[in-house]
C-alpha cells in the first residue's frame, strides 16, 4: 500500500510540470495609475534654455514630486521664448517659473516675482558662468580682435550667458557696437542651439551657459574635441524658482519648504537626479546684485522692454 501511494505521488509530481508553463507568455501589461484630481493648481513655466523636450523631461519629476508634497496640482508650462515670461506673469497664466539669473533680475523690476530656491549641482555649485566658445579650427582666440567680422550665435537678450556676458565682455574690451563688430548676430532661443550652431559651423562663435556646454560636450565626444572656450564670466546664481508674490502664502511656503527638504526623501532625490542636482537651497534677491552691476556696466536699462517679445 505504501509503495502504491508513493508511486502515485511520484506520478503526480512528474505530471505537475506539464500543467504549468504551457502556452506563450502573456504580453506585458502596463498598469495605469489614475491621476489624483486636485482642486488647486500651480503653473510653473520653464524657459527654453535648452531643448524644450529635454527641459520637460528634466522638470517633470520635480512637478510630480511637488504635487504630491504640496497637494496642489503643479503643472509645467514650456515657454517658447525667454521674452514671453513677463507677459505670462502679467497675465497670471503662470504662478512662477524657473528663471535664469538675468531673467529674474529683469522681471523682478517689473513684476511681483520673488526668488524662492535654487538647485545645487552635483559638483556643489549652485551657480553658472557664461562662456564664449568657438571651434578649434576657427582660428579665433581669447583676443576679441580675432572675433571681428565673425558670425556669433547668441541665445536671447534676457539671458546673462547668452547675451549680457558677451556684450559686457566686449564692452570691457572697448567694443560697444556689436552689430557692426560681428558680421552677424543670431539669437537661437536656447543655449544648446547656440552650441550646436557653432559645432555645425553655422556660426563662428557662440555664447551660452557653461553647464549646458559642459553637458553637451560630455554627451558628444566629437564635440568635446572641437569646441574651445574663449572667455567666461563670474559665477551667477543658477536658475531659481521664482513665484508670484500674490500666490497664496500657504502654497508658496509649502512649495519652498518641500524644495528645501526634498533631498531628504527618496522621491525628492529621484526628482533631483533628473535635474542633475543634489538639493535646493534658499535663494535671496541680494545674490543677483552681480547681474544688476553687469547691466549697469553695459548701460542696459533693465526696466525697459529692450528685448523682442518673441
Amino acid at each position: 500500500m505504501q509503495t502504491g501511494r508513493a508511486t502515485g505521488i511520484k506520478l503526480l509530481l512528474a505530471l505537475l510540470p506539464l500543467f504549468v508553463g504551457c502556452g506563450n507568455p502573456s504580453p506585458g501589461t502596463d498598469t495605469l495609475t489614475p491621476k489624483r484630481v486636485r482642486e488647486q493648481a500651480v503653473t510653473i513655466a520653464i524657459l527654453p534654455e535648452r531643448n524644450v523636450f529635454e527641459q520637460k523631461k528634466r522638470y517633470k519629476p520635480l512637478a510630480e514630486y511637488l504635487s504630491e508634497k504640496v497637494n496642489v496640482n503643479v503643472r509645467i508650462k514650456l515657454l517658447d521664448s525667454y521674452g514671453s515670461i513677463h507677459h505670462e506673469i502679467t497675465n497670471q497664466t503662470i504662478d512662477g517659473a524657473f528663471l535664469g539669473s538675468f531673467n529674474y533680475v529683469l522681471n523682478r523690476t517689473r513684476t511681483d516675482l520673488e526668488a524662492v530656491a535654487r538647485p545645487v549641482e552635483k559638483g556643489g555649485s549652485s551657480g553658472y558662468r557664461g562662456v564664449i566658445f568657438t571651434r578649434k579650427d576657427s582660428g579665433l582666440t581669447s583676443d576679441v580682435q580675432t572675433w571681428r567680422g565673425k558670425k556669433i550665435a547668441l541665445v536671447h537678450k534676457v539671458t546673462m550667458a547668452g547675451y549680457v556676458f558677451p556684450v559686457w565682455h566686449l564692452n570691457k574690451q572697448g567694443i560697444q557696437d556689436l552689430n557692426n563688430y560681428f558680421s552677424k548676430i543670431v539669437f537661437l532661443g536656447s543655449h544648446d542651439a547656440a552650441v550646436l550652431a557653432v559645432f555645425k559651423g553655422q556660426a563662428d562663435m557662440g555664447a551660452a551657459k557653461d553647464i549646458i556646454l559642459q553637458k553637451m560636450l560630455a554627451e558628444n565626444a566629437a564635440m568635446k574635441d572641437e569646441i574651445v572656450i574663449l572667455a567666461s564670466s563670474v559665477s551667477v546664481p543658477s536658475n531659481s524658482l521664482c513665484l508670484r508674490s500674490g500666490l497664496q502664502n500657504g502654497i508658496k511656503d509649502s512649495l519652498k519648504k518641500s524644495l528645501l527638504s526634498m533631498h531628504d526623501t527618496a522621491g525628492g532625490k529621484a526628482a533631483l537626479q533628473a535635474l542633475n542636482a543634489i538639493k535646493f537651497i534658499e535663494a535671496t534677491d541680494s545674490e543677483f546684485e552681480v547681474l544688476r552691476r553687469m547691466a549697469d556696466d553695459i548701460d542696459l536699462d533693465i526696466r525697459s522692454p529692450f528685448w523682442d517679445a518673441k
Binding site: G4, G8, L11, L15, L18, F19, C22, G23, N24, P25, S26, P27, G28, D30, P48, R50, N51, V52, F53, E54, K56, K57, K77, L78, L79, D80, S81, S84, H156, V186, F187, L188, G189, S190, D192, A193, L196, Q202, D308, K310
Partner: protein
C-alpha cells in the same frame, strides 16, 4: 485484483491527465494566440496614436510658426507621448527577441523583428533630430533660419509619418497572419480536443471494461467452480490463471478441492466397505434367521412328528386287534357266502376298506417305529438304479423320459440301503405321479465336501408355495388315495442318516435334493435325541 485496480485506475488517470494536458495546451495556445491578437491590436493602436501624435505635432508646429499659438505645451506633449509610445513598442518588440515560443508560432520572427528594429532605429534617429529641429525652430530669433528649420522639421516629421505608416501596415499584415493562424489553430484545437475527449472516453471505457472483466471473469469462474463443487462435482477445477488475489484464491480453492476429492474417494471406499459389510451382515442375519426359522420349523416338525408318532403308536396298537378281527370275520363271511349273495359285495367292500385301514395302521406303525438300521457302505448310484428298475414297468413311465446324471466316482457312504431305497422310491413315484401327461425325470448324484448329493427332479406342475411347507407333515396329501405318510417317512429316514432333504419347486419343475454325510457319526446321538423327544418309539 488490487494490482489490476491500481493499474486500471492509473491508466485511466494517466489518460485523463494526458487528455487534460492536451486540452489545456490547446486552450492555452488559443488563449495565447488571442492575447497575441490583443497585443497586436494594442501595438496597432499605438501606431495609430503615434501617427496621430506626429501629425498633431506637425499641426502644432505649423500653428506656432503661423502665429496662431505661442503655446508649445501641446507640441511637446504630442512628442512626449510619441516618445512614450515609442519606448513602449521598443520594449514590446525587444521582449520578443530570441523568444523561442514566439519563433515557434511565427516563422521568420527574428527577421521581422530585425527589420522592425531597423525601422525603429530610423524613427528614433529621426525623432531625435526632429525634436532638435523643432526646439531650435520654436525658440530661435534668427528669421533667416526659420524657413530652413521649419522645412527641416516638417520634412523629418513627414519621414517619421511615412515610416510609421509603413510599420503600421506591417503590423496590420502581421495581425492578419495571426488572425488566420488563430482561426486555423482554433479549428485544429477544436478537432484535437474533440478527438482527445473521444479517445480518452473510449480508452477509459475500454480499460474499465478490461478491469471489470479481469475481475469479474475470474470471480465468476470461481463462483461457478464453487457451485459445481457444492453440488458434489469434486472433479471440477477453477480455471483461473491470473497471478493476483483471485488466482491465489483459485489455487487455494483447487488445492482444497483436490483434498476434498481425495477425502470423498476415501469416504466412498469406506461407504462401499460399510455397505458390503452391511450387506454381508444382512445376508448373515437373513441366513441366521432362515437357519433359525428352519431350525424352528424342524423343531416344530420334529415335535409334531414325535407327538404324532406317539399318538400313532398308541392308536395303531389299539386299532390293530379290532381291525384284524374285522378283516378276519369279513374274509370268513365272504368265503362262506354264495357268490350270488347280495351282501357279498358289501362284505368285499368292508374287506377292502379294512385292508386299507390295516395298511394305514401299518404305515403309522412304520412311522412311529422306524426299522432298525443296518448300516453299511452303500452306493447311492446303485440304490437309484435299483429303484428306477422297480418303477420302469409302471404304465405312467411310458410317457416319461428318465435321464440319469450319476457321478461315476460317487463316494460310498455309511447308510441303510433298504431305508434309502424307500426314500428314493417315494420320491421317484411322487415325480411320476406329478407328470401324468409325461415329462422328464432327471436323477443326478455328485460328491460334496462332506458327503454325497442326490437330486430328483421332474417337469410336473410344481408345488404351490403355500404347500411346500406342509409336504413333510404326516397325513398331508393331495392325492385322493394317499396316506400322507410317504414324504414324512422319507424325511425321518434322511434325518436318521444325519442328512438333509430339501425341495425347490416352481411351475414346470420340482426338485428334491438330498444331502447325506459320508459317515453318520451323529446317528446314535440323534437317535437318542429322537427317542428322548418322543419322535422315535423303541421297537417292542
Amino acid at each position: 485484483m488490487r494490482k489490476k485496480l491500481i493499474i486500471g485506475l492509473g491508466l485511466v488517470f494517466f489518460i485523463s491527465a494526458v487528455s487534460a494536458i492536451v486540452v489545456i495546451k490547446n486552450l492555452n495556445n488559443m488563449i495565447a494566440n488571442q492575447k497575441l491578437i490583443s497585443a497586436q491590436d494594442v501595438i496597432i493602436s499605438k501606431y495609430n496614436e503615434m501617427l496621430f501624435q506626429m501629425k498633431g505635432a506637425q499641426s502644432e508646429l505649423y500653428r506656432h510658426q503661423a502665429g496662431y499659438s505661442r503655446n508649445i505645451d501641446d507640441l511637446v506633449n504630442y512628442i512626449d507621448a510619441f516618445d512614450d509610445n515609442m519606448m513602449f513598442l521598443s520594449r514590446k518588440y525587444s521582449s520578443h527577441h530570441h523568444d523561442i515560443q514566439c519563433m515557434q508560432c511565427h516563422s521568420q520572427i527574428e527577421e521581422r523583428l530585425t527589420s522592425l528594429s531597423e525601422i525603429f532605429s530610423g524613427i528614433e534617429s529621426h525623432i531625435k533630430q526632429y525634436k532638435q529641429n523643432v526646439s531650435i525652430f520654436i525658440t530661435t530669433d534668427d528669421q533667416s533660419q526659420l524657413g530652413i528649420l521649419e522645412n527641416a522639421a516638417t520634412e523629418r516629421g513627414n519621414v517619421i509619418i511615412s515610416l510609421l505608416e509603413k510599420i503600421r501596415h506591417a503590423a496590420d499584415k502581421m495581425r492578419s497572419e495571426i488572425r488566420n493562424r488563430r482561426n486555423l489553430l482554433v479549428n485544429r484545437s477544436r478537432s484535437v480536443i474533440t478527438l482527445t475527449m473521444v479517445f480518452a472516453f473510449a480508452f477509459s471505457i475500454a480499460i474499465s471494461l478490461a478491469v471489470y472483466r479481469g475481475i469479474t471473469v475470474p470471480v465468476n469462474s470461481l463462483i461457478k467452480g464453487i457451485q459445481k463443487i457444492a453440488s458434489g462435482d469434486f472433479q471440477q477445477r477453477v480455471a483461473v490463471r491470473t497471478k493476483d488475489e483471485i488466482g491465489f484464491m483459485a489455487q487455494a480453492f483447487n488445492d482444497m478441492t483436490a483434498q476434498l476429492q481425495t477425502m470423498n474417494k476415501e469416504k466412498d471406499v469406506l461407504l462401499q466397505t460399510l455397505k458390503e459389510f452391511n450387506e454381508d451382515l444382512e445376508k448373515k442375519v437373513q441366513e441366521a434367521t432362515e437357519e433359525l426359522r428352519l431350525a424352528q420349523e424342524n423343531m416344530v416338525r420334529t415335535e409334531t412328528l414325535a407327538a404324532i408318532g406317539t399318538l400313532a403308536a398308541g392308536v395303531s396298537h389299539e386299532l390293530s386287534t379290532p381291525l384284524n378281527s374285522i378283516l378276519g370275520f369279513a374274509q370268513l363271511t365272504v368265503s362262506e357266502m354264495d357268490d350270488g349273495s347280495p351282501a357279498k359285495g358289501d362284505l368285499r367292500l368292508i374287506e377292502q376298506e379294512a385292508m386299507r385301514c390295516k395298511r394305514i395302521v401299518q404305515g403309522l406303525l412304520n412311522f412311529a417305529r422306524p426299522p432298525i438300521y443296518e448300516k453299511k457302505l452303500t452306493d447311492i448310484n446303485k440304490i437309484i438304479d435299483d429303484t428306477l428298475t422297480l418303477v420302469e414297468y409302471q404304465p405312467a413311465m411310458k410317457k416319461i423320459i428318465a435321464k440319469k446324471d450319476l457321478d461315476g466316482a460317487l463316494t460310498p457312504i455309511e447308510a441303510d440301503p433298504l431305508q434309502l431305497k424307500q426314500v428314493f422310491l417315494n420320491l421317484i413315484l411322487n415325480a411320476i405321479q406329478a407328470m401324468p401327461k409325461g415329462g422328464e425325470l432327471q436323477l443326478k448324484t455328485a460328491n460334496t465336501p462332506t458327503g454325497v448329493e442326490a437330486v430328483i427332479s421332474d417337469t410336473g406342475a410344481g408345488i404351490p408355495e403355500a404347500e411346500k411347507k406342509k409336504i413333510f407333515q404326516p397325513f398331508y396329501t393331495t392325492k385322493p388315495d394317499g396316506t400322507g405318510l410317504g414324504l414324512s417317512i422319507s424325511y425321518g429316514i434322511v434325518k436318521e442318516h444325519g442328512g438333509e432333504i430339501d425341495v425347490e419347486s416352481s411351475p414346470g419343475q420340482t426338485r428334491f435334493k438330498i444331502l447325506l454325510p459320508l459317515k453318520n457319526h451323529e446317528r446314535t446321538e440323534k437317535m437318542s435325541t429322537a427317542v428322548a423327544s418322543g419322535w422315535l418309539v423303541e421297537r417292542e
